[in-house]
Point group: C2
Chain length 458, copies 2
Amino acid sequence: MAEHNVTVENTIKVLLEDKKYSTLKDILVTMNGADIAAVLEEIGEEKTPLLFRLLPKELAAITFVEMNPDLQELLIKGFSDRELREVVDELYVDDAVDLVEEMPANVVKRILAQADPQMRKEINEILQYPENSAGSIMTTEYISLRPQMTVDEAIARIRRTAVDKETIYTCYVTENRKLLGYLTLKDLLLVKDDSVKICDVMDTNVIAVHTSEDREDIAQQLSKYNFIALPVLDSDDRMVGIITFDDAMDVIEEEATEDIEKMAAMLPSDKEYLRANPFEIFKQRIPWLMLLMVSATFTGMIITGFENALAAMVVLTAFIPMLMDTGGNSGSQAAVTVIRALSLGELEFKDLPKVIWKEIRTAVLCGCALAIACFAKILLIDRLLLGNEDVTVLVAAVVCMAMALTILVAKIIGCMLPMIAYKLKFDPAVMSSPFITTIVDALSLLVYFALAKALLIG
Amino acid sequence: MAEHNVTVENTIKVLLEDKKYSTLKDILVTMNGADIAAVLEEIGEEKTPLLFRLLPKELAAITFVEMNPDLQELLIKGFSDRELREVVDELYVDDAVDLVEEMPANVVKRILAQADPQMRKEINEILQYPENSAGSIMTTEYISLRPQMTVDEAIARIRRTAVDKETIYTCYVTENRKLLGYLTLKDLLLVKDDSVKICDVMDTNVIAVHTSEDREDIAQQLSKYNFIALPVLDSDDRMVGIITFDDAMDVIEEEATEDIEKMAAMLPSDKEYLRANPFEIFKQRIPWLMLLMVSATFTGMIITGFENALAAMVVLTAFIPMLMDTGGNSGSQAAVTVIRALSLGELEFKDLPKVIWKEIRTAVLCGCALAIACFAKILLIDRLLLGNEDVTVLVAAVVCMAMALTILVAKIIGCMLPMIAYKLKFDPAVMSSPFITTIVDALSLLVYFALAKALLIG
C-alpha cells in the first residue's frame, strides 16, 4: 500500500507544479481519506491548504480526521471562519472531541465558536469524562428507536436520520432515555412482517457499559462479543452514547503499544516515533533508566561484599554476565507472559497458585536443560577449546547449579510481581522485564557467590 | 464482567444439581455465547454436554465457536451425527475452518462428513491458503449484488439472503465474479429513489486485498480505513470472500501478543497461558534461552581477557552489572520503539538515517544525564556512604564515560538491527531486547575495559 501511495504522491506533486487543479480534483475524489491524509503529510506545508481546498466537503472532513495534529492546526490557522465551520459541521462528535483535545487553547476557542450549539454542548459534555474512560471515547450520534414503533416505521426513521449517525447497524430502543433493548439492522431487515412492533422483536439482553469504565476493558468486551457498537450509560443508567468497533480497534492498538513501551522501561507516549523530537523521547526514556541505574547499587554492593573471594578466583567473574542475562531473560519471559494474559483478561489474581505451580514446573525443565547444556559448554568451549585451566569441573558445577537456581527464582518472581501489581490496582506492565531483571540480578549474584563460597573457597 | 459471570455460574451449578433444566434454559437464553462458553469452561467436563444440549440451535453454535478447542473436542466426541450436523450447519465458513484446523484428524473427518457439500467445498478451499494469509481468515458468506439491480431489488435480495451472511453491512457489486464496486447498507438506505440502478450509486474506488497477503497487513488496513469488511480477491482478481472487522480485531490482538512474546525471547504460541502445560511452555522458552546462554560465551571471553587487570583492581567488577543493565535497557528501549513503529506501519526502511540521527541525539541526552547522575551516585553512595576507599574519582570517571559510550552504542544498535531485519524480510521483533542485550553486553565490557586500561591501569 505504501508504495502505491508514493506513486500517486509523485503524480500529485507534478500536477500541483503544473497547476492542473481540475485533474487533481478528479484524482483526489477517487482516494480514501486516510490515503489523502498520508499524501498531504508528505507534500509539504505550503501546498497542503491548496490541495485540501480541492476536496469536496465530506471527503475533506474524513481526510481532516486522519491527519496528524500538527497539520490539522496548520490548516485551521489558515481557514476562514466559514471554511472551519464547514469542516466542523461534517465531523462526528467523537472526532470533534479528539480534535479539541489535541489543539492549543486559542484554536479550540475558534473551533467551538464555529460548532453549532447542539454539537458544542455535546463536545463539552464528553470533554468532562476522565481520560481513558468510556465517556471520553464515545459518540452521541446513534440510532434510537421507540418500543411502540413498527418495523416499517423504524426502517423509515433509520433512512431519514442515517446520514448524521456514526453507525446505523445497531439500533437502541429507548424510552425516557432508559435503554430497553437493542436490535441490529440485520435483525430488523429479517423481520418478515413489517407491522410487528419493535418491542416484540428487540433483544432485551443488552450488554452496556458505563461512562466511567476503562476504555481498554470496553475494547476487550467489544472484541469478545464481536459487536459493532456498545451502548454507554451514565451513572443514572440513562443512555448517553455508543462506542464503535473502529474506536475499539484503535484502543486495542494503543493499549498494546503502551504495554510494550512499559515493558521496555519507557513511559508511554501517544506521539508517533517519527513525529517526536529527541527531547520528548528522552523524557519518555530517562526516568526508568535513572531508577534502574541507581538500583544497580545493590548488585555493586553484593560484588563488593565478595571482593576477596573474587580476587582469589577471578575466573568466577567471567560467568557473571551469563548468569545475570539468563536469569533476566527467564524472569522476563514469565513476567511478559503473565502481563499479556492479564491485559487480555485470560488471567485473574485468584489464578496465582496455578500460575506459580506452572512456572515452577517450567523452571525445573528450563533449569535442567540449561544447566546440562551449560556444563557441557563450559567444559568443551571454555576449558578444552579456549584452554582456560582455571575452569575446573567444580567451577562448572557451581556455575550450573547457580544457573538452575537463578532460573527458578527468576520465573517465580517474574510471574508473581505482575499479578501482585494487578491485585494492588497498579499497571502490571510496569512490573516488567527491566524491573525484574534488576531484582533477579541481585539474587543471582547472591546465589552464585554463596555456592562458590561453600563449594570452592570456603 | 468476570465477577458477574461468577455469580451466574454459581446459580447455574446449583440449578444443575437440582436438575431444574427448564429454569436453566430460561437463564441461558438471556446470555451471550461468549459468556455461556466461559461458564461451560468452568462447570466441569461431565456437566458440559448436558448444559450445552439445553441451548437453542443458533445460540448453541455461537457458544460453540467461543469455547476452547479442548472443550469443543469433548463435545463433538459426545455428539450424535445429527447433533454434530446441527451445529456445523449453523457455523459460518470461517468458524468451521478454525474448528477444522484445531481438531485431530478423526474428528475433522466426522465434521466434514456432516457438513453440506457446498460448505465442505468451501472449507477445503480455505484450508489450502497458507497460514496467516488473508485467504486463511476470510469467509465466503458475503452479499453480492448485480450492477443492473435497482435499489429496491437490492434491498429485497439482502432481506432474503441476510440470514446466512456474516455481514450484510457492506455489499459487493460483482459481474462474473469480477468486483466492480461496493456499497454500504447505509449508502443503500440513504438513496431516496428506489428505482435507481446499483451501478449508478456504487462506489467504484474499492480497496481490496489478495488471498496471499499477510493477515496482519490486512488487519492494519481495515483499522486504518475503519471498514466493517474488506473484499478478498484471488490471483485472477476474482472475488472469493471477505474479511470482517471482528476477525481483524482478533488478528491485531494475536499479532501484538506474538510481537510481545518474541520481544521477550519466546517462540510465539497461540495457546492461552493457563491452558498450556509446562512442557509446551518450556518448548516455547528454551530455544532463545539456550542460544543466549551460549552466546554469553563472548562476554565471558572478554572478561577472561582482562582477568589480570581485574585481579589488580577488583573494584572495577562491582560496576559491571550496572553498565551491562543500563546498556541493555537503553538498547531495548530503542529496539522496542522501532519494532512497534514498524509493525504499525509508521516506519519504513528508508527512514533509517532519520531514525539513527534521532537515536544519536536521544542517546546524547540520556548519556549525559545518566553519566552525571552516576558520577554523583558513585561518589556519594559508594565512596562516602558505603566508605569504599577503592572508588576513586578517576574510577567514577571511567565508569561514567563507559556508561555514556555504552548508551550511545546501545541506542544505535538497538534501532538499526530491527530495521535491517525488516529490510531483509525477517520479523523485526526477533531482533529484540534479549538479542540486543547480548551484543550490547559484550560491547559495553570492551568499552569499559579499554577505558580502564588506558586511564587506570595502563
